[in-house]
């Protein structure tokens, strides 16, 4: 079930270093929101605060609020493990579990939740692999290791793994940056299909990709190296690329920055 994300006054630290500063935004359900900006502007850090993965890094710390349909992910009694079960994530480099078969990779999240029956499991795995447009390529070798697939297939396997648990939100951290153009296209098509069911947030360095897949785009920037990253603006993707309201956004998008 797709949910709305409401961020207010979010600041993230690495030790004493302030990585992102005072970010507020709303992400609509059943839409794709793209984060763009130069390297080091904190867009990946911000993404990782949305499923409490930021605090896994030693010294990682967060102030502020992230509401998922009115429930604060950083509330005092919230278990980060429970948050990560409802906010799925796909990483920059495909990272299927190398010791598991394709089937077990997709089933991994379900087995963690503990509530499944054997035939039910097979159904969910098939549905998720179909959802990730991978089923036809792997249906004859579900028992082979996931690490034997190509990079693009591995990334779609990771997407299948993430959607198998039916998360409310799907976070993608530069999911195509390690892939060739054909695999990238396959993933972009997939994102278009997945947004009917999930709230999707994607970090990308590729501005054409942001323009192709997203409904809304957020531009992050930092004033200087070592300074915290800030949200410059967030708007409809068409407006960001055609007629942004901040000069810095236009400079970045047209290549005049630095």
């Amino acid at each position: 079930m797709a949910k709305r994300i409401d961020v207010s006054g979010l600041t993230a630290f690495y030790g004493t270093h302030r990585a992102i500063d005072d970010i507020s935004m709303t992400v609509e359900p059943r839409s794709v929101t793209a984060f763009i900006g130069p390297s080091g502007c904190g867009k990946s850090t911000f993404l990782r605060t949305l499923n409490r993965m930021h605090e896994v890094t030693p010294g990682g710390r967060v102030e502020g609020k992230v509401l998922l349909d009115d429930e604060n992910l950083y509330g005092a009694n919230v278990d980060p493990v429970a948050v990560r079960r409802t906010v799925g994530m796909v990483f920059q480099r495909p990272n299927p579990f190398p010791t598991m078969s394709i089937f077990d990779n997709v089933a991994a999240g379900l087995k963690l939740n503990g509530k499944y029956r054997k035939n039910e499991l097979a159904n969910v795995v098939e549905k998720s692999l179909k959802g990730a447009n991978l089923w036809n390529e792997v249906k004859d070798r579900l028992n082979k290791p996931g690490s034997g697939l190509s990079g693009g297939q591995q990334q779609r396997l990771c997407i299948a793994r993430a959607i198998a648990v039916e998360p409310d939100v799907l976070l993608m951290d530069e999911p195509c940056s390690a892939l060739d153009p054909i695999s990238t296209l396959a993933i972009e098509d997939l994102i278009g299909e997945l947004k009917e069911r999930f709230t999707i947030v994607i970090v990308t360095h590729n501005m054409q990709q942001a323009a192709r897949v997203s409904d809304r785009t957020a531009f992050f920037n930092l004033s200087a190296v070592g300074q915290p990253g800030k949200l410059i603006e967030i708007d409809e993707t068409e407006r960001i690329f055609a007629n942004p309201s901040v000069q810095a956004t236009e400079d970045y998008i047209s290549g005049r920055f630095g």
């Binding site: 990560r84 990483f91 990272n95 190398p98 963690l112 993430a162």
Partner: protein, 333 residues
């Protein structure tokens, strides 16, 4: 204007730069010395192994051919007696059983310590603990033996009685003879302590190398800390755990002094591991070598050959297990 094309001339082509005309270019001196040294080292290793194997086999054959009983099934060790009678049954049994006890105790503890150091302990604590484990490896084995005989044996007496009283139904903990805890169980515990450092260190190294990417994948799926370890760390380190265990097992099989000091040697072969007595290959050799005549020594060497073969088999088995799991090892991640 075209400036790249040279005007045509009648000058002869320049001499070749790489082809000096010699039929085979001479190798640099440094290369030749290094090649000779490394090749020599490799050959030395093979020669040493061959020499040991040949020596063991030759002397063992001298002894076994004169043995008037079955070498493999005879309990007693009396090569200088009349008739000549000696066999490895007790020694093989004692060696294998004490090593298995050591493995059963040491491997789970080693995995626990390695996990604690690599994934749970705060950094300030991890380094000192790792150092302590190294320190355990630095204690000479005769010290372990003395500690075992003077401290462990009397203290384990009570445990032995308790195990005998409440767990005799398990058969292995049923104590059927009198005597203090100079038995295979005590030897196993002592060996476990002695092989703990090497197993822990190898496993710790493997766990430290488990890829962050895969651990994050598990975390992002909503895995708890323990589930991350179960899904991403232990499967990745499985072949490392097996190699580490086999390294430890090799040590346990060959350990001499500690066993010789603790065990009260006898020709006893009993599956009741609390029964006092028994023997191991290395302990038997250490205890009897000085008093043995030439033939007695040959007989002891024959037992050494069996130990050598057992160790080889253990190593081979470990390699086979690791090779079988290669596809899933994570090496291709």
């Amino acid at each position: 204007m075209d400036t790249t094309t040279a005007p045509p001339t009648d000058a002869p082509p320049p001499p070749p730069v790489f082809d000096k005309g010699a039929p085979k270019a001479k190798k640099q001196l440094g290369d030749r010395i290094f090649l000779g040294l490394s090749r020599g080292s490799g050959i030395t290793l093979l020669v040493i192994m061959a020499a040991i194997a040949a020596f063991l086999t030759y002397r063992a054959m001298l002894a076994i051919s004169k043995d008037e009983t079955n070498f493999l099934t005879t309990f007693e060790w009396n090569p200088q007696g009349e008739p000549v009678s000696f066999g490895i049954a007790v020694l093989a049994f004692g060696t294998v059983v004490s090593s298995i006890i050591a493995m059963v105790i040491a491997v789970p503890i080693a995995i626990g310590i390695a996990l604690f150091i690599s994934h749970f302990a705060p950094r300030r604590l991890a380094a000192p603990i790792a150092y302590l484990v190294d320190l355990l490896a630095a204690v000479p084995s005769i010290i372990y033996g003395l500690w075992g005989a003077v401290f462990l044996v009397p203290y384990l007496d009570g445990l032995n009685k308790w195990l005998d009283e409440y767990f005799a139904w398990t058969y292995i903990f049923d104590k059927t003879n009198e005597g203090v805890a100079r038995n295979l169980f005590t030897v196993g515990i002592l060996l476990a302590i002695m092989i703990l450092p090497i197993i822990t260190n190898v496993i710790r190294e493997v766990f430290l190398q488990s890829p962050k990417m895969i651990e994050e994948a598990a975390l992002a799926l909503g895995a708890t800390r323990w589930e991350v370890i179960r899904m991403a760390v232990i499967p990745f380190g499985r072949s490392g755990i097996i190699s580490a265990s086999m390294l430890g097992l090799g040590r346990a099989l060959g350990e001499t002094m500690a066993v010789a000091v603790v065990l009260s040697p006898s020709f006893l072969l009993s599956f009741h591991i609390l029964d006092a007595g028994g023997g191991t290959f290395a302990q038997n050799i250490a205890a009897k070598f000085n008093e043995a005549n030439g033939f007695g020594r040959d007989a002891l060497i024959a037992s050494g050959l069996v130990l050598f073969i057992i160790t080889l088999l253990v190593n081979g088995a470990a390699r086979a297990i690791i090779a079988r799991r290669k596809e899933y090892s994570g090496a291709n991640a």
